[in-house]
């Protein structure tokens, strides 16, 4: 039995047919759509490496059944840059050394984009640490990550509205 769903992934509407209804959004993205930027760390909601935006809200793709999100808009790390221009959060991670091995980085960046959009953390480092606590980093690049999110939050509140996405 085939299960059909429609997802808008990074702005492109896609019709997808699944043979198994148990496929998670994470496995769908990585294994069937070859969007491997979204990482699988723990596959149980604890590390945040699989963070994507579902209808603008950050969630763990490993805990989401793809079928449950039929009709949703999904933004992954591949959908942030505009051509060669990095998204301000991506640029801030580069500028502030917000990574070491980089495995957690796509999830960190997506989580930060979600956090800034939520508009609750402002530019208070402790609130940013709280808001980013669903994203673990094995390399413990936390101070760089907090600096990067802070810098991006500051930059994005001053240049609001100039970008079309997220």
């Amino acid at each position: 039995m085939s299960h059909d769903l429609t997802l808008t992934i990074n702005g492109t509407r896609q019709q997808i047919a699944l043979d198994d209804p148990r496929v998670t959004l994470l496995d769908l993205l990585r294994e069937r759509l070859h969007l491997t930027g979204t990482k699988k760390g723990c596959d149980r909601g604890q590390c945040g490496a699989c963070t994507v935006l579902i209808d603008g809200r950050r969630q763990n793709a490993c805990l989401a059944l793809a079928l449950s999100h039929d009709g949703a808009e999904i933004t992954t790390i591949e959908g942030l840059a505009e051509g060669d221009t990095l998204h301000p959060v991506q640029a801030a991670f580069v500028a502030e050394d917000g990574m070491q091995c980089g495995y957690c980085t796509p999830g960190q960046v997506m989580s930060a984009v979600g956090l800034i959009a939520e508009g609750r953390a402002g530019t208070d480092p402790e609130r940013i640490r709280e808001g980013m606590s669903g994203n673990l980093c094995r390399c413990a690049a936390y101070s760089g990550i907090t600096r990067a999110v802070l810098a991006a939050a500051e930059e994005m509140t001053t240049t609001k509205g100039e970008r079309k996405t997220a």
């Binding site: 148990r22 909601g45 763990n60 805990l63 079928l67 449950s68 606590s133």
Partner: protein, 280 residues
């Protein structure tokens, strides 16, 4: 498993469940507990059931649909009595978890460390259940039958959580202790709600969680707090008043004696916090 359903109404959901299967909401407890490859039988996704959605003020109080996500609780406009529930919402896992996990999932999973329970106990919450035999309502304390056990009968689902208007009074607080600051399962947690009139505590509701198979209220302490000034509440908390209602468990997160000490301290801090917030 070859079937997956996303019913839009309660009648449809109950009909599907009668044929067998497992219900799912945010899947944040279900997936870590059961590898999804091992899910057998149909999955019934409850997140679109109209009766299970939204937070609303009703004639009798407040109604929370079972499929309301923690992030919705956090952003809802609710009276200060719900401040404890909101504080708990903010501490359930991470924001990613709060954007998926639901109130109903938290209660039905019935973990001793379910952060939603103490706050809802202090709000005198009742659960609305529906199944093949119709609807029924139970006090939350009666619904939680033990660690990972609920009063749900086969084929029954949790539809909504109701807080009566008399319990939506005063101000609430919630504190949890974990092994680190964020993204942590509670070692002990406390919810308190005080109604203050003329500078005296008119009614107190205090509940402790993660210190026994299910969270529970502390009637002896509540009685001792009635009639005193909020500033004096923390000093009125004694080990003797907190201990009898607890059956502290020893596990990897802490031994029983430690939990007992922590519970007393958390109750004091919660009451001190409420007094400082100008409970007059």
């Amino acid at each position: 498993m070859s079937a997956w359903h996303r019913p839009a109404s309660l009648t449809e959901a109950i009909g599907l469940l009668a044929e067998g299967g497992v219900v799912a909401a945010g899947c944040t407890d279900l997936f870590p507990a059961t590898r999804r490859q091992a899910l057998s039988g149909p999955v019934i996704d409850l997140t679109r059931v109209a009766e299970m959605r939204g937070i609303s003020e009703t004639r009798g109080g407040w109604r929370f649909g079972a499929a309301v996500r923690w992030s919705e609780v956090l952003s809802a406009a609710l009276p200060p009595a719900f401040d404890g529930l909101k504080a708990a919402a903010r501490e359930v896992g991470s924001v990613q978890i709060q954007n998926a996990g639901t109130l109903g999932g938290n209660l039905c999973n019935a973990s001793p460390a379910a952060d939603g329970v103490p706050g809802l106990l202090t709000l005198e919450a009742e659960v609305e259940l529906a199944g093949p035999a119709g609807m029924r309502r139970l006090p939350l304390a009666a619904f939680l039958a033990g660690a990972r056990r609920t009063a749900l009968a086969p084929g029954e689902v949790l539809v909504a959580i109701h807080v009566p208007s008399h319990a939506a009074a005063g101000r609430g607080a919630f504190l949890k202790l974990g092994a680190r600051r964020y993204l942590v399962i509670s070692i002990a947690m406390v919810a308190a709600r005080l109604v203050v009139k003329g500078g005296r505590i008119d009614r107190a509701a205090v509940a402790v969680g993660a210190c026994g198979p299910v969270a529970s209220r502390l009637p002896a302490l509540e009685a001792a707090l009635a009639g005193i000034a909020p500033e004096d509440a923390a000093a009125a908390v004694s080990e003797a008043l907190v201990a009898p209602a607890l059956a502290p468990i020893g596990d990897v997160r802490g031994d029983a004696e430690y939990r007992g000490v922590v519970a007393v301290e958390l109750v004091r801090r919660a009451l001190r916090g409420l007094a400082a917030e100008g409970m007059r």
